[in-house]
Symmetry: C2
Subunit: 407 residues, 2 copies
């Protein structure tokens, strides 16, 4: 035993040793401060290596918050926090100032104000941090809440769990690198400590950077192409249907976020043959084309029938039920897969973090979900187990903070 060979070891208090003699013995190395140390990393700094995925940055300040129009990053963590009872509007303002400052730094590959691991901040990897306000946060201010800022109406398919629902403050942290997300998550969570407690964490993923050709629509864990029909950032429709919130005034330039945790019964899905799966969705599994087409981008022909008179795209298929004849009933989807360790005898604990942005939850999201709730073939294999709605305030300038139109 080494213990026996070095009896002196056992007489030493480790803590005393470290904070006393040993620390004093560091000499010159101990005097290297955080800032100087970070500068020394040289080639790892974003400016020095612009060709690396890890060096890419997304601007933080702007009319809108980042992380919405941003091409979805590979990794995401959603945090929902509950404000402490004692937190008033002034405290929310202090918290948002701190969070804004650190989010602005971290997204640009710079360490947070009190960053305990500044080297981990040096790989931004397109990090974005997006804040959302729940009803409980807005209620602490003197401003009105939008009418839709409340739990969604109850849907018959829902089996909601508190563990994945609600919250006063949402933080969406997304990047192409999981270590970047982990570090930013920790720094921002520390910022909230005096103000709030963590309600839930949900993590998700898409394909890694460079795994597929840019612009490839993501696949979910059922193997389906998921998100073909979507609003296009920069389009007039996007401006109106995502950024078109004008009431209350503090929300101008903002939008809303709906996050639904949808568990997917992969075991049950496995028992369905390929034709049945394509029927449930209304699209081919191979390329995501509507069953009446050959390419993903083809418009579905809902009127087409087979030789024996059945519709080619079944009446209760997902794409038919999701579609509205009202062009105002559209949303911008930006979801992620989730895959947690299975429990018990199951081989999966997997699903989709359904995330949508829309100017008005009641006018855009709710009608779609009501149609799907009433009859969508996919409901046989999917179950919403979490639900939350947040107001996404506008972006801010470098002298402001997220929420400065509210508080």
């Amino acid at each position: 035993m080494r213990n026996d060979q070095h009896p002196a070891d056992r007489r030493v208090s480790r803590r005393h040793l470290l904070l006393g003699g040993a620390a004093a013995g560091l000499g010159a190395a101990a005097s290297v401060g955080v800032a100087a140390a970070v500068t020394q990393t040289g080639g790892q700094s974003p400016a020095a290596a612009v060709d690396l995925n890890g060096s890419r940055t997304v601007p933080f300040f702007g009319v809108h918050q980042a992380g919405i129009e941003t091409v979805p990053q590979a990794q995401v963590t959603y945090l929902a926090l509950d404000l402490h009872d004692s937190v008033d509007a002034a405290a929310v303002k202090r918290m948002m100032r701190i969070l804004t400052g650190d989010a602005a730094q971290l997204t640009q590959g710079e360490s947070a104000l009190a960053d305990s691991e500044p080297e981990l901040a040096l790989v931004p990897a397109r990090l974005t941090v997006t804040f959302g306000f729940g009803p409980g946060l807005v209620a602490r201010t003197a401003q009105p809440a939008p009418g839709w800022l409340r739990p969604l109406p109850a849907f018959t398919v829902d089996r909601l769990e508190d563990a994945w629902s609600g919250g006063d403050l949402l933080i969406q942290i997304a990047a192409d690198d999981q270590l970047t997300v982990a570090h930013a998550t920790r720094m921002l969570l520390k910022d909230t400590r005096s103000f709030a407690s963590l309600r839930w964490t949900q993590t998700g993923f898409r394909r890694a950077p460079g795994s597929e050709k840019p612009g490839t629509t993501m696949r979910n864990l059922f193997g389906q192409v998921d998100g073909t029909v979507n609003l296009m950032p920069g389009s007039a429709d996007f401006e109106k249907l995502v950024w078109g919130s004008s009431s209350p005034a503090w929300l101008a330039g903002g939008t809303s976020l709906v996050l639904r945790r949808i568990t997917m019964d992969l075991d049950k899905w496995d028992k369905l043959d390929r034709g049945g799966r394509e029927s449930a969705v209304g699209r081919t599994l191979a390329v995501g084309a509507p069953l009446t087409g050959t390419k993903e981008s083809d418009e579905p022909d809902f009127a087409a029938t087979t030789a024996i008179g059945f519709p080619v795209i079944p009446e209760y298929s997902h794409i038919r039920r999701a579609r509205s004849e009202d062009p105002g009933e559209r949303i911008f989807r930006r979801g992620y897969n989730y895959d947690e360790p299975p429990a018990g005898g199951s081989v999966s604990n997997s699903g989709l973090l359904f995330v949508s942005f829309q100017a008005d939850v009641d006018a855009q999201f709710v009608p779609i979900q009501k149609r799907l709730d009433a009859l969508d073939l996919l409901n046989e294999w999917i179950t919403p187990i979490g639900s939350a709605v947040f107001a996404i305030p506008p972006g801010c300038t470098s002298s402001g903070y997220i929420g400065d139109t509210l508080i």
Copy 2:
């Protein structure tokens, strides 16, 4: 309510509809089989897009199993399984034949034999699948186990939990893309269903592909450069100290894996200043250089002292305690960070999946861990909460299977 607008909806049995009329109405689309459908994906197939990260493959067959010398991928999942009581050597052989076949396919970007989502198999992203045998599996065969194939000796720092320890069969699934890992994990877990139950799952990550310059040593969640001193694949030392197992005979070309789940108390670590942290490790945080040097690759000078006579690299620093004067006491590390949602009032549930490969656990790993257990400054902030040892059998040819030297 849409329910009221479409009363007919409620009369329809969803399952009947899907499996009956609607499925029959699919026409030509329903006749597209799995194989044909996969072929149709065209540009997504590995051969057609060799420049994408997602298209890269690592050979499965060979003298050694893949996933050891392989440059570590960004994402990993470790599965440990317990064999059912009824499973004898013949059943283990059947299971390993099935697992080998599917692992060989999936790692080359081809779907598993009974792949329920074949499109998810098309992005191999350097997927490797590596199998390890625990004492309980070897005991079901007629062959002897290596002497070190048992739980590690108890260390005083250990606070081991069953939830992260032991297991009869280990599967290491690693790729640069988390969706690839998720799909392979599910396919392989399904293969084991009749033979074993899942004991634990551990997932980890490193920097994403392209985040940093190739060859950059990983950082752990303490911000430390972690893994500087390591055996180099292809070197003579590696051949001897990793692949040098010659007894029992079935292990020739194989090695051993030690997996330790080490929780890192980030909150406590935060309270330590930068000098104290560097003292604990013996390296700078900025570049990972020994405190006596300026570059990560510099050899530490353990004899160097400060002007007042203290050693520059403290006596109980991690790098001094980890190092042996016996060159045979070296291991090959291939660990990952883990970061799970924090519970309660904590802001982190994070740590390291310490993974090492060595020809002989008792001769190589145990002496190092004994020294660290006796006195390593880092023990103030880290705690092993899981521990497992597996024999890694050699690789196989395309007509064999992993484990064919054993059973």
